[in-house]
Structures are given as C-alpha cells and as structure tokens.
Amino acid sequence: MTTRITIDPITRLEGHGRIDIFLNDQGAVENACFQIPELRGFEQFCVGRMAEEMPVITNRICGVCPEAHHIAASKALDGVFGAEPTPAAKKLRELLYMTFFVTDHTTHFYALGGPDFIVGPDAPPSERNILGVARKVGLEVAGDVIACRKRNHEIITFLGGKSIHPVAGVPGGWSRAITTEERTQIEDAARKNIEFARFSLALFEKIVLKNPAYLEMVTSDTYLHRTYSMGTVDAYNRTNFYDGLIRVVDPEGKEFVKYHPSEYREHIAERVESWTYLKYPYLKKVGWKGLTDGMESGIYTATPLSRLNVSEGLATPLANAEYQRMYETFGCKKITDARYEPIHHRMATHWARLIELLYAAERMLELALDPEITSPETRNIPDPARFAGEGIGSVEAPRGTLTHHYVTDERGVLTKVNMIVGTTNNYAPISMSIKRAAEKLITSAAPEEAVLNRIEMAFRLYDPCFSCATHFLPGKMPLTVSLRDSQGGLLREMRRKA
C-alpha cells in the first residue's frame, strides 16, 4: 500500500506551500511534490502599464525584498529607455542595496535560520527563536538585532523614499541625492554593521563550529546535493550583488558558462508542471533530467553559498578572510589562485550568508566614503533618440539571481514582461532537499519533533521567501505532518504548535 505524507503548509513564496511525499511498500520515498498553490501573475497584469511604473509595481512581488525588485526594475528601465545611469546613481543604488542586504541577512540569521544552531536543533520549538537566542547568548543580542534593523531601515527610508516599497529608481538613475549629514549617518551605520557582522561570525564560530555535533551536521552528507552553482561576479570574477556577469560553475568547480544577464534566455529555461503554479528553472544547455543532481542534471543553485562557490575570493578584506576560512574548514582544495572547490553541503549556506553580511557591511562603508556619493548628479534624462524598447535588469537578491525582462511599444507601454525571481531559481534544489529529508525521516526511528525540525531545516537553509513570516514573530513555526494511506485515510499526525 502506498503511504502518503502531506505537509500543509510549509509556506511561503507567495503565500503558501505544501508537500506531498509518496512512499512505496518498503517505506522508501518514491516521489515528493513540493507545491506552490498560489499565483498572482505579474507577467500578465504589468502588460499595458507604462514601463517607468515597474520599479513601484514589482516591489509588490515581495515585501521582504522589494529593494531587489526595485533595483532590478530600474536597471531594466535603463535598457528600455537607453539611459546609462550616472556614476553617482549607480553608487546610490548599490548603497541602498547593501543597506538592505545587511538587514535581510541579519533577520535570517537571528530570527529564522540561526536559532536552529544557536539554540540547537533538538531544543524545544518554543526556544528556537530570537527570544531563545537572547536567553542563550544574552538579552542584549536581541536588542542589537532590533537596533541593526532599525538603523538600516532608517537609511532605506530616506534613500529609497519609503521604508517598504521604495520609489527612487528611475531610468537613468535615482530620484534623489544624499546630503552630507545623511552620508555621515550612513557611514556611522556601516561601521556598526561591520562590527555586528563580525560579532555574528564569532557567534557562529563559538556555537556551531566549536561544537562537534553541530559541525558534524554541517559537514555531513544529509543535506548534500552536487548541483551547478550560480552567482553574479565583477570584472575580477568576485561576487557582486548589484552588477556584473552571471557565472555558473559545474559541480566540480569548473566554469561552465559566464554570460551577460541580457543573454539569460540562452542559458535558462523554465519547466511547467501541472500540479504547481511555480515553474522549475534549469540550465538549458544541460537540460532537465528530473529532480536529480550531478553533472548531467541542469539543476542549479542560486544562494549565498553558490555565490561564493563561483567567486574568486571576495572584494573586501575582512569578508575575504572569512571566505578563505570557510573553504579551508571544509578541506576544499584551491582550484585557482583565489577560488576553492565548491561546497555542496547545504547547511554551509548559513555560514556563507554571514560572510555575505560582512561583505555587504564593508561595501556599504566603501560607498559611504566614496567622494562621489553626495554628488547631485543622480540622473541622466533619457534621450528619445536612444530609446530601445527592451531592457533586462538583474541583481543578486538575497535568495538568488533575480532577472526582470521588459519589452515595450514605441510609447514605452509594456507588451511583454518576464521575471525569474530569487527563490524560484532554487525550486528544484529545495524540492530535492525535501526529498532527502523525507528519506531520513522515514528510514530512521526519529522522534516526532526531530522529524519536523529536520524537514524545517532543509527549507530554512535556503531562506526561501516564506521567511518574512518568521521575521514577524520568532519561532512560531507551526508544522503538521500527516501520514495518509492511499485512500487518504489518516494514519498518524504529528503536530508542533506555535
């Protein structure tokens, strides 16, 4: 008799998520379906809109990372209107973006992903949250997390024009300059951010890396998938969140392809399944081979870890030292002067995220100290003679490479819109991680709570966009796993309450 396990919901991409796992007579996993049951359809209802509205409309794809959509949309508009942003505009956009990265990665580590480690994977769920973190490492840490979010959101508010869903992106630039007083505030915040990032890495070291049991969990093959890795790199092949070329390395670490974001359609295709609203992207030139990893499967990963896997070191000194330390801890060999063999242990994504946090803070400070950052030259007004009617904008969102592609008529009215968003890139890897967790869940006589948490941890490492819920109130991650027979009858239910 086939047994069916339903997890409803795991939530959230655009609201909800649901998993069905099918087992054969021997109790082994035969199939796992991770379903996204909601669709809003921005690709359709943006058609007919004026292109310059897109930075404001596409913010509403995600209220957790509207900055990512806002910047990608602004870059796509640069292309549509043939308007190269001024140097100061590019720096202001990147400055907003680094500020956002600091808050986003901070929230994930302290409120969402980190508690599994800091408080412990086997701790009671009521403890695995920011308050539990505070009890474990001191109440002032919770205060520091709130202070970090607050100082960076203040900057996002004046720099982007609105605290959530910014408005300042225009084709050819940015709608406002910053004053010298604002610059000073940003510099001060950036210095605090660097200290906060270093503190966070030290905390990770102390609590996870120095604990043999946790280190074993991070380095074991439970959460290991050998996929291709994707990330945006600068002219020196180093990670850049704002701009660059898309680099993909194969599971062995060899560069598979490096392309301009405008060429994404030559390299990425999306597969449609009848049972889920979310599409599965894959590397077109490798092809879709189902939910399987390895060199022959076009599944790729776009996460903090994959970004470091494609990067020849990091561009800021403190973050680069941490980068080296992570790969050496994993015993990776260097395959170029600066780059190591890729890490495929998914749990290392948490560590990579903290290294990115430090990079974003250091880069924020560099930009705050750039003499050009207070320049009033924040916009190039588009020249109608250079109007192109098509543009592709791309950034590294916290959760993966984000691409916006717009086509317009001669009036700048959208006729075609396409987007591949951060979490979507990772739909296949997340699905594989679920399957792997399910295999462990079934084959081991694990206690119920550990079963639930292992599934949850397989999700959390990707920081998929349902994170914002846990950002809201920590640790209230209720989860139900239902084991059903093939007639849908309930065999057993495991439930963890908030």
């Binding site: 669709l39 809109r49 995600c62 295709a269 592609h405 908030a498």
Partner: protein, 350 residues
C-alpha cells in the same frame, strides 16, 4: 492559556510587506507582544486552520487580514476568520481595495495563465501544460487550488469592521491603531483608521501655486524642481486624490505620490476623484470660438501623452472601483489608457 486579548494576522494574496511593516515597529513590537496574545502567525496559516476552526466563534479579539482574495482558499479563510473574530480589520491596500494583485482584473484569468505558462519568454512547455485541478501520480493525486475569476477585496466576501489603508500601512500608524485597540475606545464600525482624514497634499511640503498645466509629463522626462508641487510641474502625482497618513514620503524623494493610501475620506472612487481634479488643472488654451470637435481635439492631444491612465489612477483600487472587475475583453482600449478619450471614433484605437 493566555488571558491577554488574542490577535491574529493573516495574509491572503499579498507580498509580505504588511508583515514587515509590523516588524518595523522595532522595539514597540515587544510592547505589542506584552499586551496582546499573538496566537496566530501570518504566513503559517493553513497549518493551524484546524486550530482556528476548533476555537469558539468570536474567540479572537482582533484579526488583521492582509492580502487580496485571489484563490478559493483565500475566500474560505476570510469566512473562517470573520466567524472567529470579534473585530475583523482589512489591513493594508490589498485587503481594503485589491491593490496591485487586482490589476489582473483588467483582463481575464485565462490571459494571466497564458502569459505565465504559454506565451512567455523563458518557458519550455512543449505540451502546453497549464497548472490546474487534480494531477494523478501513480501513488496518488495532487490537487491545486483554483484561481477566482477576478480578484476581490475582503469586504466583497465578508463584513469588515475597520479598514487600515496603505501599501503597506506605515509602521507608526500600525502602532497608533494598536494603542487605540488597547484603549478600548474604538471608532464607529466601518471607519478607516490609522490614517488622516485629508489628502496627501496636506502632508506634502511642496508649494502649490494654483498653476494650470499645459501638458502631462512622464516621470523620466525631466528632473523636477525640488520645492514646487509635482502636479503643477505636469507629473501625475496622485496626492490630490489620496488619503493622508503616510507623511508624504514619496514627494520628499522627488517622486509623485502613487496613491497607495487609497481615496480620501468620503470618496468612493480614487480614479474618478483624480479625473475630477485634473479637469481643474488642465490648461487647453483659449477655446473662444472653437467648435466642439476642435475643443475635443485639444483635449485628446493633451491626454495623449499618457498612455495608461487606468493603470495609474487605479493602481491600488481596481477591485473596489466603479470600473469593477474583468468586464473588458483582453486588449481592450481601456488597458491602453484611453478611457478618457472624448471622441467616439477613438474608442477602438489600439
């Protein structure tokens, strides 16, 4: 069992920005947690659907419901939470009037599915699969919730007690509302709360000179003068047709208000309010002695610079507007923004 009043926050078709606005109360969040029992977390709704069903009716003191109604499941949750809540609040623009997801009402569900899965720049879909209904696997079936024919806002399904506007509501306004709730001194049922009763213009520090304008301009065409009213510079700033309460942050950043706080007090249709306001600011020149056709021609010429009035004026309120739902066939003149064209012969222009 907590004795504190129970607070639930649920999201339907939304982006999560309303939740982040709650989180951005920063240290005030701890006060909220101390005063209220957050017994229900927004994103993890379904898991605890059974728990909510098991509660006595009206067991939840306040539910902040955000998100539009896009799927049948959203509708079911709206009814369940109405039944279990003493006070149901439409929290944010999506729940209040449809917001961005309701732009889908300009066309049809079929167009939407086609744009995402068939006529799309990066899909490889040789079998023309459109996700829907029940899929049979060898081991069992998987069911996908259906989309509604059109996007609705909360009050189109259930009775709503209060409305909090904004996309998202500003964090300080959420705190104001929570203080009001805790004080027990609630305004009359049906009130819009957490906002002002005037327009964004009243909060905006730019100078209005009662100038009339000779052309509308698109926001990328010029660098606006930093102190003067944006509407009087030709930008279609929605401040004049939008409720205040946000503090006019967008115009401070040299960008026009996009209208996310919805229509001002006493106005039911934000787009109609904007059209009325424009009538008094458009300067089509001296029309003395001109024929009606000639005047209409001037108006047409004036209006032609903006190709999508409907999308601009109803960006947040289409579900609640008098335009309503998807009454228009795909690619109708309406989505081309020519709803205001005065000459009948232009009606079919594409």
């Amino acid at each position: 069992m907590s004795e504190k009043p129970k607070l639930a926050v649920y999201w339907a078709a939304s982006c999560g920005g309303c939740e982040i606005a709650v989180v951005n109360m920063h240290e005030k969040l701890l006060d909220v947690d101390a005063a209220l029992d957050f017994m229900f977390c927004p994103c993890l709704m379904d898991t605890k659907t059974k728990d909510i069903e098991a509660l006595p009716d009206r067991a939840i003191s306040v539910t902040l419901f955000n998100g539009a109604l896009r799927t049948q499941e959203n509708v079911e949750m709206a009814h369940l939470l109405r039944r279990k809540s003493q006070i149901l609040v439409a929290f944010g623009s999506c729940a209040r009037e449809g917001c961005i997801p309701a732009l889908a009402n300009f066309t049809t569900k079929e167009d939407l599915l086609s744009a995402v899965y068939l006529d799309n720049l990066s899909v490889e879909n040789p079998d023309a699969i459109i996700p829907s209904g029940t899929t049979a696997f060898p081991e069992g079936e998987i069911h996908l919730p259906a989309l509604l024919g059109r996007v609705k806002h909360l009050a189109q399904e259930v009775e709503v007690d209060y409305y909090i506007p904004g996309c998202p509501p500003e964090s300080h306004q959420i705190w104001n509302v929570i203080e009001t709730i805790l004080s027990g001194e609630l305004p009359p049922k049906g009130s819009t709360i957490g906002c002002g009763n005037l327009t964004v213009c009243d909060d905006c520090d730019r100078t209005k000179e009662d100038k009339r304008i000779t052309a509308f301009r698109r926001n990328y065409e010029f660098y606006p003068e930093p102190k003067a009213c944006l509407l009087e510079q030709g930008l279609l700033c929605m401040g004049i047709a939008t409720r205040n309460g946000c503090g006019a942050p967008c115009t401070k950043a040299n960008m026009p208000c996009t209208g996310c706080y919805g229509a001002p007090d006493g106005i039911s249709d934000q787009g109609a309010k904007m059209v009325a306001a424009l009538g008094s600011i458009m300067d089509i020149g001296d029309t003395t002695g001109l024929s009606e056709e000639a005047i209409a021609g001037r108006v047409d010429a004036f209006l032609k610079t903006i190709p999508d009035y409907a999308g601009l004026f109803y960006k947040y309120t289409l579900a609640s507007s008098t335009l309503g739902g998807n009454i228009n066939p795909p690619q109708s003149p309406l989505i081309r923004g020519e709803v205001f064209c005065s000459s009948p012969d232009k009606a079919g222009r594409g």
